[in-house]
């Protein structure tokens, strides 16, 4: 009997997909990994809703109501949730808007900013409502593991994933492998 593949789901909330790119930087080890894992919802599969999964990788912080919905969907469906990268863990660069009022930000960008033509604040109903601040994901749902870095180095993904694939608890990242930048 072939062993069931470990199912991994990934998403980028208020992120830049840089963490996903770093994950792909494990290069040829992806081939070995693909024998043991399969992807559920992920930008790599284009599956739109997260189904029951073993591990969820969350990139990016929480900046709007759609981020909240997706994050809760992941938490409900993933046995283990991993916060990947500076933005998921702290809000990161998008959280630099947190020092200002949301309206100030919107007005600066869409009304008064340099080079703005036809100034108007976008209000299409399909646009997800922005939150007052950009939040770390652990402010919204419980998180099992943290993988810091901007992005986390490729080998850090393997360091945290391989023990989990073997059914072991993943080790805490050592200070040698820790980077916040």
């Amino acid at each position: 009997m072939t062993e069931r593949k470990i199912r991994i789901a990934t998403t980028s909330l208020a992120g830049c997909f840089g963490c996903h790119m770093s994950f792909l930087d494990i290069d040829e080890q992806l081939v070995q990994l693909s024998e043991r894992i399969e992807f559920n919802r992920s930008p790599l599969t284009d599956i739109k809703r997260c189904g029951p999964s073993d591990i969820g990788l969350i990139e990016g912080g929480v900046c709007n109501v759609d981020n909240v919905r997706v994050l809760r969907e992941f938490r409900e469906n993933c046995k283990i949730l991993i916060a990947v990268g500076a933005c998921a863990i702290t809000g990161g660069v998008p959280a630099m808007r947190n020092y200002f009022d949301l309206r100030e930000c919107l007005e600066e960008v869409y009304l008064h900013g340099a080079g703005v033509t036809n100034p108007q604040i976008p209000d299409d109903v399909e646009l997800p409502l922005l939150l007052d601040k950009v939040y770390p994901i652990q402010a919204v749902v419980p998180v099992d593991y943290f993988l810091p870095g901007c992005p986390p180095p490729a080998d850090a993904f393997l360091a945290i994933l391989l023990p989990l694939l073997n059914g072991e608890a993943s080790p805490q990242m050592t200070d040698r492998r820790l980077y916040y930048d």
Partner: protein
Amino acid sequence: MTQLKDTIFIDGKAIGFTEGQTIMDAALSAQVYIPHLCHYPGLTPSGNCRLCVVEADGRMVAACTTAAREGQQVSNNTAELSAARKAITQMLFVEGNHICPSCEKSGNCKLQAMGYYLGMLEEHYPQFNPHRALDASHPDIFLDRGRCILCGLCVRSSHDVDKKNVFAIAGRGADARLIVNTVSGKLGDSNLDVGDLAANICPVGAIMFKEHGYVTPIGERIYDRQKISDVALNEHVLEQKGDKAR
């Protein structure tokens, strides 16, 4: 056990000291690292960051301001103290605006390096997101108060070594803030110079030189290469003064 004269014991290790030395002085002389941010050898200690908290003869004290005493038993590297230090570091992170990926100090920052040393994976506490004034009025140096951790190293350096008294901490508690001692309150109206110790000693990205961004690439900076626990053993004001290579 025979009691040695002028000896303290840090985590059981016998360490000599001379009259007037603090626990921190004695530890650093013996190449024993006690985590610290607001202390810098050669400057008067102020004991405000509390990272150097140790247990000395059963009491929690700041190692940088507590005199070494004959036969003192000091606990430094314990799980309890490491947890307390990590919590302090997390509080310092959430109190200010410390977004490492966007900060030019990243890799040379002691707050960040302390997070690495203590294995800080996340900030744990809710962020304050303070909106603090940036001062870019000086031609060579800018002041980003959002990153200031109120360690007071610039205050002491400017007052005691540079003899200029450019900086001060105003207010108390949550209202404490770094101010510039000029009539306008602007750094540009002060006589701060790039060669001053006060301009060079900031452990975080609060006092930064202009036009020096990314001279050393990310990944090749001090704490990308070395642990703070090693770097801190070889620091002294005498070597720092006049260092413009930041």
